[in-house]
Amino acid sequence: MTLTILIWLPLAIGVAVSALPPALVGRATAILSLAPLGVAISFLARFKIGHAGLQFVTDHTWISAFGIHYKVGLDGLNVALVVLTTVLFTASMAWSATREWERPRLFYFFLGLAQSAVLGAFCAQDLFLFVAFFDLMLIPFYFLTGMWGTGERVRATTKLVIYTLVGSFFMLVAAIATAVLASNAYGTSLTFVLSSLQHLQLSHTSQDWVFLCFAVAFLVKMPLVPFHGWLADGYRSMPIPAVAVFSGVLSKVAAYGFLKIVLPLFPYASVHYQTLMLVIALVSIIYATSLAFTTTQARLVVAYSSVAQLAFIVLGIFSLRPQGGQGALLQMLNHGLVTAPLFFIVAALAVRCGGSEDIREMGGLAFRAPVLAALFLIVILANLAMPGSSNFAGEFLILLGVFKAKLAISVIAFLGVIGAAVYSLRVYIRTMHNPLGPKAHSHEISWRDALPIAALVVVILALAFYPQFGLRRSDQSLRATMAPAEVQDGLSPAAVVAVTGSGRR
């Protein structure tokens, strides 16, 4: 059972189901999508904790001319994210399966393709392979948004793709440059394999511009201010399952890229631009938060809140402290689990308000929909990272890391925590509480809608009791990936051990 199977299984399913009559495709996909989930969980189960290195590695030469390998593997950084991916995609497919889609075969094919691409991006251990998957991820969403979206879908999807591909293309150049310059500098043969590139550090000047290219690609994908131009339109037009996985998983790929590629490969630049990145993240937090409690579109509240969350993640990564990194990883997991059900719930709310997602027209929905209200409450509390939720554990670690790195920034970042409480509760109260809204016709959530949400809520609650689940596997790998930057930052490995080890008496 190699990773390759896991990666390509969803696509295979997507292709296979297109043989079925359209009526059945949805259910079939939803059921079959349990297979990748199962496989992923089996990997999680077999994952050996306490190893920094890769596990379940598959390594074939793909393009020998460039030393490009098809190398996939799991380590502490991506194992949880892989599982998250399968979980969210399964949830989305389950959610879609109970609805009518025109051209269903295509729809589920693209969903499958998307899942394969995301899994590939997470598992890729070769720089070029990662770039390829990273760009490939976009295509299915281009179609999903353009064909099944709402409103100005074509405009929105074009904007989305161009915005993100602009970044990706720069990243392509940067990636190739990384390999080429490295091989020139050290006289080795051209290779894109991350593990080997890690030993071929680039000169400081090249690191600087390469880093910026990567950063742009990732920041656009997340997106952070000021690269969020596509966000509002894109999220507003995407069909719910697509937007759920997009903000749940795809944005994580970018964050993961920082952790997996940028930090180990360009430690000098990471330290050099640390403050810049932290400031960008900080600005995004403040900015997205203020937008989130201004906008009246329920969906956009979620969208902007995820921008803020991702900003927190970046904050954690670029604290260049293991606590921050761990927090970021945990937060990736949590945010994915929270944002997807939120989008499903937004859809459910829209159904109860004549299709409108404007919170001004909602209100008092909790009446006659206590289950929906309860689910929503749990998710929203997790979203505002209430202590006791795993999100809080993540934010706690992130902010602790930043606190150690740059005190002032962490203090300001706490404004984001408060803001999160404000806008989350605002959207909850404006929809669920208060007098009955003008268009509101509340009724209890149906099983088919509740199932994916409830499943995810269960996971959220489980994590809330045991956040360690998201931390214990990544510990070693994270230290490994952070080490170069830390050394570069002046904290020698010894110092690192001192800082981190002091707690464990």
């Binding site: 904007k159 915005y163 000021p226 969020h228 131009g229 900015y287 203020s290 937008l291 409690f293 201004t294 906008t295 293991p322 606590q323 761990q326 008092g364 909790a366 009446f367 206590p370 309860a374 509390l381 505002l384 209430m386 202590p387 006791g388 809080f392 554990a393 706690f396 670690l397 902010l399 602790l400 606190f403 150690k404 962490s410 203090v411 706490f414 925590v417 408060i418 803001g419 409480a421 404000v422 509760l425 109260i429 509480h433 208060n434 007098p435 009955l436 009791f465 045991y466 956040p467 360690q468 931390l471 214990r472 994270l478 800082v499 981190t500 080890g501 002091s502 707690g503 464990r504 008496r505």
Partner: protein
């Protein structure tokens, strides 16, 4: 089965209760949810008692037990376990909380019956108790913060329990956000301490503190101040107090449980728990004490003018907690906790009585419309009177012993604390005045219509239910107090609960009679073994002097109140005229809401608007995106315009290119 096992059980009972009630929301009939909830809390009280016993078995030196189930978040140097700390302090608090909660649950069983949200109410209530107990038993900072935020969330849920009331939801979000501010303070303070100690565990921290911090070191002071922010937000101390009066939007039992007996006292617990830190950072401690002192004065003044029954009690709560904070910060830990316990008793009692009173008024809480309930609600009147006397510190009620214990300690410490002590006495006189203002106006004097109706034997019911705050007509299908009301006289559970508390409020003081016994101090001693302040106690004589002064002041206050509202009812108006500006200041609650609104809320909203309209639409959408697009578009248009279709133009351009290329080569060559 050690004490910690029962500690876990204490936590488990309410949690199970909540889950059961929540899941059974469709099937549980009638008052069953209420009984289940009460049973759950009662059980956990029982466990707490057992825990106490187990703890008392141990020698004094070994009365600090920890136990952890699993790693909560422990990686890269952070060691947060799912662990509890059982020591006299926590046991004491657990006992108070679970005990009072049991009674309040019992009270609610009947008081809330007839409410559409009956099941939800008890689920929330159990959840709250669970959170509170978690807060108290937490063995490390992370878990403390968790419990800290949980109680905040529970309080939010219960404040906006009648969620169709916009006033209720607004009050809820206000409470929640201010509590989050507190959480943030707590977290940041934790960071400051953690970065030096490298551990989150309480005992390890306390062990490490003396070694890593020198006296009054900046980081420690800042950290402690941030902890104080948390404490102040939770305990409604100036300037983070504005949520508490609004929190009265919640059902009365909620006010009794959360906003009087338990949650709001968490701040006191925190300071007591963190005393090793505070004693090493006196600056922070003193600031805390001052804050408490200010609060008790400000709250007292406001309490004089407010006419909403529950709000008066709420302000009195603020001022009482002001005493506790002041005391705890100054080092009178046992005194503060003593007052905390006593306050839990008599303040819960007061709220319950008020609840009964309000029920009799068919939901109306306006003091101006009340009067003469003495005969209509004899039991309630009795309870109210006991509670009032305890609150205003009349001997021999619990309030007398406890509060004046603190004040005596302050005088004993001397210096700046003397002044605080005096302020405390001023506060005491205010307390006595507004408390008895309440009693006299509500129960004495000419009976109001509702009172009369009740004397004829039937309870008044509002024909059109309206929101007591805004007066707008209530949305009655859900999330609303419910059509019928329940008064203590007719519901034995309420009677039992109130009666028990009345007794406790009366005799509770005798746990600690200077010179006679000091059960509480002795019991708590192990928790404060390291503290120098706790060791130095005023002499018995000093204590007694303090008590006497306190009693005298209380009596004076009562007399003044009697003079103003019973003998010469017009006086109040006269005073109001005389001190018009002062009155305006008090009746507007010192304008705190307005200040916060203008200083923080509005700017934030304004920035949000600007961000959306100006920055996002104009700058990002038009500026960055649109700019690029339009530039490319212009170039594209230019290119296509040159494509005229005129063959000869093509040739011309080509030849132009030729000469250009040739020139390049001639120049380059």
């Amino acid at each position: 089965m050690t004490a910690t096992t029962f500690g876990w059980l204490v936590l488990l009972c309410p949690l199970v209760g909540m889950v059961v009630i929540a899941l059974g929301y469709k099937v549980l009939p009638g008052r069953t949810p209420g009984w289940i909830a009460t049973a759950a809390i009662g059980l956990s009280f029982a466990c707490a008692v057992v825990m106490l016993v187990k703890l008392l078995d141990l020698p004094t030196a070994h009365r600090q037990l920890t136990s952890s189930l699993w790693n909560y978040a422990s990686s890269v140097g952070v060691n947060a376990k799912m662990g509890i700390l059982v020591d006299p302090l926590s046991v004491f608090m657990v006992l108070v909380v679970s005990g009072v909660s049991t009674l309040i649950h019992l009270y609610s069983v009947s008081y809330m019956s007839g409410d559409r949200g009956y099941t939800r109410f008890f689920a929330y209530l159990n959840y709250f108790v669970f959170s509170m107990l978690l807060l108290l038993l937490a063995g490390n900072f992370l878990l403390l913060i968790v419990g800290w935020a949980f109680v905040g969330a529970a309080s939010y849920l219960l404040i906006s329990f009648w969620y169709r009331r916009t006033t209720a939801t607004r009050a809820g979000i206000k409470a929640f956000v201010i509590n989050v501010v507190g959480d943030v303070g707590l977290v940041l303070g934790t960071f400051f301490i953690f970065t030096h100690t490298g551990t989150l565990d309480f005992l390890q921290t306390f062990a490490a503190v003396p070694h890593v911090f020198h006296h009054n070191s900046t980081d420690l002071v800042v950290g402690c101040l941030l902890l104080l922010v948390g404490a102040f937000a939770k305990s409604a101390q100036v300037p983070l107090h504005t949520w508490l009066p609004d929190a009265m939007e919640g059902p009365t039992p909620v006010s009794a449980l959360i906003h009087a007996a338990t949650m709001v006292t968490a701040g006191v617990y925190l300071i007591a728990r963190m005393h090793p830190l505070f004693e090493l950072a006196p600056t922070a401690a003193d600031i805390g004490a001052v804050g408490g002192c200010l609060t008790l004065l400000i709250a007292g003044t406001i309490g004089l003018t407010v006419t909403d029954v529950k709000r008066v009690i709420a302000y009195s709560t603020m001022s009482q907690i002001g005493y506790m904070i002041m005391g705890a910060a100054a080092g009178a830990y046992s005194g503060a906790l003593f007052l905390l316990m006593a306050h839990a008793f008599f303040k819960a009692l007061l709220f319950m009585a008020a609840g009964s009173l309000i029920a009799a008024m068919a939901g109306n809480q306006d003091l101006d419309r009340m009067g003469g309930f003495r005969r209509a609600l004899p039991f309630t009147f009795g309870c109210f009177l006991i509670g009032g006397m305890a609150l205003s510190g009349l001997p021999p009620f619990s309030g007398w012993f406890s509060k004046d214990d603190i004040l005596a300690f302050l005088d004993h410490r001397g210096g700046g604390f003397e002044i605080m002590g005096i302020a405390g006495y001023i506060g005491a006189i205010l307390t006595a005045i507004y408390t008895f203002r309440l009693i006299f106006r509500a129960f004495l004097g000419a009976p109001c219509p509702e009172a009369k109706e009740l004397e004829e034997g039937h309870l008044a019911h509002a024909e059109v239910p309206t929101n007591p705050q805004t007066g707008e007509v209530e949305d009655t299908d859900v999330g609303f107090p419910g059509p019928e009301h329940h008064i203590a006289e007719r519901e034995w559970p309420m009677k039992v609960a109130m009666g028990t508390l009345a007794v406790l409020a009366t005799v509770g003081g005798f746990l600690e009679v200077p010179g006679v016994d000091d059960a509480i101090r002795r019991f708590l001693e192990p928790s404060f073994s390291t503290s120098q302040l706790a060791a130095s106690v005023p002499s018995t004589g000093a204590d007694w002097i303090g008590l006497v002064i306190g009693a005298a002041i209380a009596v004076v206050g009562v007399v003044i109140a009697y003079r103003i509202w019973v003998l010469a009812p017009g006086t109040a108006a006269v005073i109001r005229e005389r001190f018009a500006p002062l009155y305006r200041l008090f009746v507007n609650k010192w304008y705190f809401d307005e200040i916060i609104d203008y200083a923080i809320v509005r700017p934030a909203q304004w920035f949000g608007q600007v961000a959306e309209t100006v920055i996002d639409r104009t700058l990002v959408a038009e500026g960055i995106t649109g700019g690029t697009v339009s530039v490319i578009g212009a170039v594209s248009a230019a290119v296509r315009r040159t494509q005229t279709g005129f063959l000869r133009y093509y040739v011309a351009l080509m030849l132009l290119g030729v000469s250009g290329v040739v020139i390049y080569f001639l120049v380059a060559g």
